[in-house]
Each structure stands twice: as C-alpha cells, then as structure tokens.
Point group: C2
Chain length 393, copies 2
Amino acid sequence: MISVEEAARHITAAFSPIDCETMDLAHLAGRVLAEDVVARCHQPPFPISAMDGYAVRLADGNATRRVIGSAPAGHPFEDKVGPGEALRIFTGGVLPEGADAIVIQEDVLGDGDRITFAANACSAGHIRPAGLDFKTGDVLAPKGKRLTGRDCALLAAGDVTQAKVRRRPRVAIVSVGDELSAPGEPRKPGGIVASSGYGLFAMIQAWGGAPCDFGILPDTQAEIATIADADGDMIVTLGGVSVGDHDLVQKALGTKDFTIDFWKVAMRPGKPLIFGKLGKIPVLGMPGNPVSTLICAILFLRPAIAAMLGTTCETMTLPARLARELPANDTRQTYLRAKLSKRDGDFWVDAFDVQDSSMLNVLSQADALIVRAPNAPAAKAGDRVEVIPLDGH
Amino acid sequence: MISVEEAARHITAAFSPIDCETMDLAHLAGRVLAEDVVARCHQPPFPISAMDGYAVRLADGNATRRVIGSAPAGHPFEDKVGPGEALRIFTGGVLPEGADAIVIQEDVLGDGDRITFAANACSAGHIRPAGLDFKTGDVLAPKGKRLTGRDCALLAAGDVTQAKVRRRPRVAIVSVGDELSAPGEPRKPGGIVASSGYGLFAMIQAWGGAPCDFGILPDTQAEIATIADADGDMIVTLGGVSVGDHDLVQKALGTKDFTIDFWKVAMRPGKPLIFGKLGKIPVLGMPGNPVSTLICAILFLRPAIAAMLGTTCETMTLPARLARELPANDTRQTYLRAKLSKRDGDFWVDAFDVQDSSMLNVLSQADALIVRAPNAPAAKAGDRVEVIPLDGH
C-alpha cells in the first residue's frame, strides 16, 4: 500500500506528452500549447493616444495652439505637428510625427481652431508607445500553457491565427460487472445501473481529454481480457480491482502483457486503486464504488491527462475552518465530502454525516473535499483544514 | 455613474430564463436544468453487502455456520438463509432473505462448507439498505443547477437518460472601430488587430452561452445601426461607448428603438460600460480596450448569461495577503491584475506594476484580480484583500 503522493508520482511519471495538431484561433481555448506562440506584430504597432484629446509638442509649453486636423483611431494624420500646432486625437489614434504629448480634452479650453490649456496639463503622459503590450517575436504564451479566453484575445492581438496544441488524449472507459446495465436499459436480476462512467466521461472532457466508452463487460476472464483491444492513449477500468473472488481485472489482464506498477493506495475512499501497463498503454484500474472512482479520477486521472497534454494541474487546496469537530484519522489519507461556504471573510467547511463510498447523492451535493492526512489528530470546530474545491469537477 | 453592485443588479434584473431543450445524458454536463430531475429507481434497489464476506443471521451468535451458496454482485441467491446457515456474499451482492448481518471475510476462519468467527465479528453493519443513496421519486438535481460530472453519474445511477435544460443563450458579438481588422487579414493604415471578441467568444462558451460573431463594423452611424439586425438573445458591442466624437454606438442605436438603462460605472478598468435594450433585446456596450472588455465580461456578462440560463453565478472571492503595499484607491472600484501563489497555508497576491487597460499580456499572465473598494485606504504588505481567481476564465 503506497501513499497518495507516491501513487500520483508513479502515475504522472508513466505518461509523456502525446502528438500535436494545429488548431485555428476560434478553437484554441482550453487546449494546451505544444510550442511557444510568438507575436507577429508590435502592439500597439505605433505610438498611440491613450485618451481623447490633442497631440501637441511639449516644447511649446502652454502657449495657445492652432488645431491642424484630426486623427481618430484608424485614420492616421498624414502630416506632422509643427511648433504652435495641435492635432485633435482620439483614443487609439496614431501619435503624429512631431508631437510628443497628449493634452486630454477635459483640460482644454475652446474647441475650434485654437485651443488653450493650463501649463500642467501638458505632460508626456497618455501616450502608449509602440510595443507597450508586446513586440514582434515576444512569446505571448509558452509551450505547456492551457489557453484561457484571455490568452485567445492576446493571441488575436498578436495577429496569431493558429497554434500547435497537443491532441486530446483518448481515454477508453471500461465498466466491469455482471450487475451493471446502462441507464434506460432493462435492469438485470440483482443488478444496478452503471453510473461512474457517465461522470468520468464528462470529467475527462472538461480536463481536455477525449473519452471513449468501451461499454460494460461481464465478470468473466475472457470478456475482461478484451480490454486489451480498447483503442486509447490510456485505459480506465471501473470495478473489478478488489480482493474478492469476482474481482477479475488483474487475473484477466495477466493473460495479456500486463505489468502492475502498484496496487492499493493508503486512502479512503479508493484504496483498491491499481495502476500498470498493458503493453505500452497505461491502465488505471478504479474501484467499483462510484464515489471512489470519481475522487480517484480527480486525484490521479486528471494529472495523467495533464501529463499527456505536456502540462501539469496542481490541485491548489483552500484553507477553510471546520464547522464541526472531526474525529482522529487512521492511517489512510481521507477525503471527506463537505459543504463549503464563506462567512466573515473565512471559508467554512462542514463534512456530511454519511461518507459511504456508494453515495453519489452526497458527492453531487458536495462543494469540497476535506483532506485528512494519515493519523491526523481529532480536530475541533473552528480548526483550519485544507480542502479541494470541487466546482471545476 | 453607478456602482459595480448596482450595475450588476440592473443587468441581472433585465434577463429572464430562456426556453428549454431536452438533452441526452452524455451531453448534460455543464448544462443548467430547467426542471427538477427525479430518480427512476431506488439506489441500491435492494439491501446489498458493502463488503466481501458471509451473510448470516444475527440470532445465531457466533455458532459455526454451514455455507449454502454464493451471491456475487449481479447473481442474487434464489433461496433464503436459515438458522445455522451462511451465504458467501461479495460487495454489491443482494442480501438474501433471512440474513440480517454480514461477517467480513477477514474475520472468518475456514472457507469450505463450514465457517466460524469471533462473536464480535457478527453485527448489523456492512449492509447497504435499499434506497440508502436515494429512493424512487427523490430529487437528484434541482431546477437551476448547472450539472457537473458528479451530477451526471448520479443521474445515471437514478436511471435517468435525458433531462430538460435551458437552451444555450445566443450572444451576438459586434466589434466597432475603423482601426480594426481580423487576425491574419491585412492591417489598415494606423490600424490594429481586433482581439477582445476572440477572448469573449471563448468565455461565453465556457459560461454556457452560444457566441456568434457579427464581425467588425466601421465607425459610421449607418453601419453601426445594423447591430439591430444581429440575431441573439443579447448583443454585446465592443468599443464605441466612450465620450469622444467617434464613439458612435449610442448615437447610432438611438436611431433604432434603443433605451439606455445606465451608462458609466464607477470602476477601473471599464468605466464607459453602457447597458440598455434594443427593442426587447438587451445590449451590453463594452469599452474598446480589451482588458476593460474582458474584466467587464467576468463581472457583468457572466451573470447575464447565468440569468438567461435560470441560474446564478456568485463570484466567490478569495481572501489573500498582499505581497507588496498598495496606494489608497480613488472613488472607482478597481480591479488590479495580479499573480496569486500559496505560501505557508495562505494565499499571497502581487499586483502587476503596470495596469494599463490596453495590456492584454498582463491580463493573460494574471491569476487573479485584486478588488479595491471605492476610497479604500492604502494597504501594507501582508494586509488581507479579497481577490477574484481567474483560472476559470
């Protein structure tokens, strides 16, 4: 039995970045860059006015100026601004040759051909120099970055229309169990509806992977061995990894080229997690209980997908205070389903009374997982704990 | 000029939930429910064993038991367990008639036809009663909930294959400005590349809307008036809402059936935000600077989309400590682009030196916005401030 941290290290070490594809700007959000993206232009391309006002020469001080024309954004003035002259200019307008200051319009008296203003109104401010935001060749977003909407705007500003990103890693999902049927299908005698796979499907998509459903396999070695045919960059099995006579995944895959990396993690829920390779394809064998599966997915599958995308996904925990006391923990790292709220500037967290790993209802209502370290002592109401917020999952 | 809170209230009040569509389970993640979803079965449907072990009768105490058969998950035992009898059972196996306790296999001696165990090993635990997770007719997810992957697993477990959700609201994006060209197109003299719209597009998708790009309009009243033809549940204009002679959106829409709700918000960046209705279609007029646009989108467009989806999106701010001092704020609520990190269990935040609203590069690198209230006094390094985390945007 290894620790959660050790298990996470083993798993991320087993994956490397997969191949790339070139995508258009409109489809880049959420994708991970496979190479640095550089600006194809300066932004701004030339010095521009940051305000509506008048472009003037500093050397003229606060002498009256003669207005010689106008430069709205997108309409550069063709001539230069000479001594005693001013050019009406608008936000984004190109600073004309000769001018080195903007007087904002609120400071200007008169608005015909001649303008005056107070001496201190004329300073070198309100000009955005060429390349203020970035210069041609600057790295706008580095290799390995998962692009946000903000990044897409930045790339557009840099005249970038495409970028090389990692392909979405294919994750094959295989459910194992004689008792399972798909939602909407006739239930088997003594059977239940398969559930974890549907949650996993959505999570894999949200984390940048391409899930594919390999379906439900019955509890026979021959059927389970067909997992080896699943077409994926990795395979996730659900169920069949515990110690019982009917937990067959290990046995079945043993007939194929399966090498175990580790089996069992000192955690609750999720202890019987298994990880290994089927030939070269990593296989993450999840416990059968849906809550165990989905929590293990957040802790282990998400970083595995990130590693295939050539990036990382640190789970930044949030400090929160306990609404109620918690008993001492045993030797397994425990993830308690809990409600998170904010009061008086602090986050407060309250664990659900029932933490059975079969209870999806509680997991669905939870906002956060309280992380209890192995052997953590009992904690009082008001004590600080670290929680994993669940909103993104 | 109104406050940020007032502006947000005006905006969300102007939207109501739009129409619905029925979606299959595989496409429900991220969608907002238009009605409660109820379970179509009990989960579990019958009492089941939570462990691998033996189903026995409590009344028999710790007498030796005769093993009469086996009940793996999905293979219920047809007969009942009588006095002195035990049934081999596995996790998920149906509890047979007559049995009222599970002895876990670790506590059992012998594994042939006859088993014995210590007296305290036989208790009423390790049984999951029928309906432990939920019962037929229970609300699994309420109207207005944005479904997570966890919810999708729960719905599957409840045998739900479809649900009624809000249609994705169509948001028309119109860029205004003679200086703008699309990325990859020849730049105009004195022109720059349009950028905000590409960021907005990705954000709208992430927030559950369906963006449509109405393109770039030049700075003429006649062209801008064509915004009225944009097909959307709402229209977002970019640029053209300031006070300059070339800020024409208000004038142009005035020729149509445009009523202003408010213009100008006491905030930085984003002051010239305008909101109103074109006939019955809400119009959010964003400032031209891309940083202003994208921050206003987070503060105002996201809740507008949420309101059309029949839900809300509280921006939960995070308490963080200042890495460096901040000067006193003026009368406008200010959103400083900043880097967030975690040290010694606290979040720390450091504002970028340059906060120019044209600088997308800084916005792209930021993790968080420090919220500075109007007239906030100067703050020292180490002081607590509230920040809006940006990772989801």
